[in-house]
């Protein structure tokens, strides 16, 4: 390396330094620490300001205990169950995008209305839905009762709690970023393809099935990957604000399990093992994306 190159390197790293140093301290170092913790008996009840028992290396014990624990598999099942709503949500996003694409006047207002649930989805909205699902005087059950149904107790019911969360998730997901991605995808479908289809006398349905759907395939693939990966990581906020993971663990997902183990009981080592299981699941989705997704190259 000559003097000029060294000078360039110094300038390059100098501009990088503020971010990289913070990144090393609060991302890379924690990742390494987390791997380490997953193999220890670290527990806030043993290691705290009053009591400083020595940290013990326990090998794979956290993982073996996790995989042999029936609750883990039940919570994994809950996580997968909640993901059953994804196909409906994605189809809904596509439907919304199809309705909202094009240059018709006034579509922007509808787009905003569809997007707001996703944009605002947070603790306030989850607490709102807890009230909407309230079996005693909540508007959803008042409506169902008025129609003559015998409505379920939703979040209080072991079997209905998950469907309730899925209904809410659908509401936030239809107009979400997925809809925006589909809208961007639709804008890129070449108009000639539709012209050719028109000349062949294709029906609207045929045009959708033979032109739009295949053209959108890369977008759909990307949305599925992101959604599934988000599904593995998700469920914590809803469970924490609406159900505390209940009733009887019915809405405990892997991420809520991590929280409960780490911060309710304080078993940080065990919870770190849970974190790495979740990471592995999400990472598999990233690998699938790298392998099969159309890569975006910008320069």
């Amino acid at each position: 390396m000559n003097a000029r190159q060294r000078q360039h390197l110094r300038a390059g790293l100098g501009f990088l330094a503020p971010q990289i140093l913070g990144f090393l301290a609060f991302t890379i170092f924690p990742v390494i620490l987390s791997v380490g913790l997953a193999f220890t008996n670290c527990d806030l009840r043993l290691h705290n300001m009053f009591k400083d028992a020595s940290l013990q290396f326990v090998g794979w014990e956290n993982f073996t205990r996790l995989f042999t624990h029936p609750d883990f598999w039940r919570f994994f099942g809950n996580t997968l169950f909640l993901m059953l709503g994804l196909p409906f949500a994605i189809a809904g996003s596509l439907g919304a995008a199809l309705l909202l694409s094009g240059r018709t006047r006034g579509l922007a207002v509808y787009r905003t209305m569809f997007y707001l649930p996703h944009f605002t989805a947070s603790v306030a909205i989850f607490l709102l839905w807890k009230k909407l699902f309230n079996p005693y005087g909540g508007p959803i059950n008042q409506f169902l009762a008025a129609l003559g149904f015998q409505p379920p107790e939703w979040l209080n019911d072991y079997y209905w709690a998950k469907p309730a969360l899925m209904i809410m998730a659908f509401w936030t997901a239809v107009g979400s970023n997925n809809m925006l991605l589909y809208l961007a995808g639709l804008a890129q479908v070449p108009a000639e393809l539709y012209e050719v289809a028109d000349m062949d006398g294709a029906s609207r349905w045929q045009k959708f099935w033979h032109v739009t759907w295949p053209q959108l395939a890369p977008v759909t693939f990307y949305i599925v990957i992101i959604s599934v990966s988000g599904g593995f990581l998700g469920g914590f906020e809803m469970a924490r604000t609406m159900t505390a993971g209940g009733p009887a663990g019915a809405t405990t997902t892997l991420s809520y399990f991590l929280y409960a183990e780490g911060f309710d009981t304080g078993r940080l080592g065990y919870a770190s093992a849970v974190a790495w299981v979740i990471f592995t699941l999400a990472f598999v989705m990233t690998l699938l994306n790298w392998k099969f997704g159309t890569r975006y190259v910008n320069d």
Partner: protein
């Protein structure tokens, strides 16, 4: 069917769907104005508008404080992220140094690390640093990420390199080129990133939930949860608090819709 009637039909359908999507918000606002006794009544409309519910929220919990804390925390994270990302993006897009693109790819690869994995070790770090229950502890772990650098690099790559070369010939230093030329030219990218980061941190929940202990440091999401656990039976007040925490978001979205939508597309380049 003629195109006009088809268009009208489409508008009717969209209007009906939009109203359905908005119903939860409508119920939230109407309930926030009801007296407690009417909360469970089948009529959505309050018999009279009880505006005092909003004042009651401020009386029962330090709600203004929650607002301010959210603004402060999200504001600091946004400032740090945008500034350090701009510096890093400048280095990755416009400075030529050996190994640059390899380092960038490696750095980009780290975006797949989910925040969930970092929470437990970062909590340990905060205990060691004595930053549990502090603003600094809330800000630091969210302030330095690769995503912003990636987004701004995309922006800076669209600025022609002749701009830098001309400035260099005039004897400008790298810092001057960054500060006086590249940064102003990337303004819309900076604004977009700032909005995305601010929104994400306004919503931030898991990290403040475990880090914060004292009520006067609560951000809005944690404050709302606290309100729910202490006064959750007062549905009308809870809905007033919820309305007040959602309202700024709706306002922000209506005002900055264009930048937000553009930012989301840059964030998911595959679309």
């Amino acid at each position: 069917m003629s195109t006009t009637s088809r268009r009208i039909g489409k508008h009717l359908l969209l209007a009906a769907l939009s109203v359905t999507m908005a119903l939860p918000f409508v119920w939230m606002v109407l309930t926030s104005l009801k007296p407690l006794a009417e909360v469970a009544s089948p009529s959505w409309l309050p018999s009279r508008l009880q505006w005092s519910n909003y004042a009651d929220v401020f009386r029962l919990v330090p709600f203004a404080r929650f607002y301010w804390n959210s603004l402060l925390i999200a504001g600091w994270v946004t400032f740090l992220q945008v500034f350090t990302s701009a510096l890093a993006a400048y280095s990755f897009s416009r400075l030529r140094w050996p190994g640059r693109d390899k380092v960038f790819l490696l750095y980009l690869g780290t975006t797949m690390i989910p925040a969930l994995v970092l929470i437990i070790p970062n909590y340990q770090i905060m205990i060691r640093l004595g930053l549990v229950d502090s603003y600094l502890g809330l800000v630091l772990p969210s302030a330095f990420t690769a995503v912003g650098t990636f987004l701004l690099r995309q922006y800076m790559l669209t600025i022609p390199t002749s701009v830098d070369e001309a400035a260099e010939m005039d004897g400008a230093s790298k810092w001057q080129i960054f500060w006086e030329i590249i940064l102003p030219l990337s303004r819309s990218g900076l604004v977009t990133l700032a909005i995305l980061v601010f929104m994400a941190n306004y919503h931030s929940f898991f990290w403040p939930l475990i880090l914060l202990k004292s009520v006067d440091k609560y951000t809005l999401p944690i404050g709302l949860l606290y309100f729910d656990s202490t006064r959750g039976q007062s549905t009308h007040l809870l809905m007033a608090a919820a309305t007040m925490s959602v309202a700024p978001l709706i306002l922000l979205f209506v005002l900055l819709q264009k930048q937000i939508v553009q930012g989301i597309r840059l964030h998911h380049p595959r679309g």
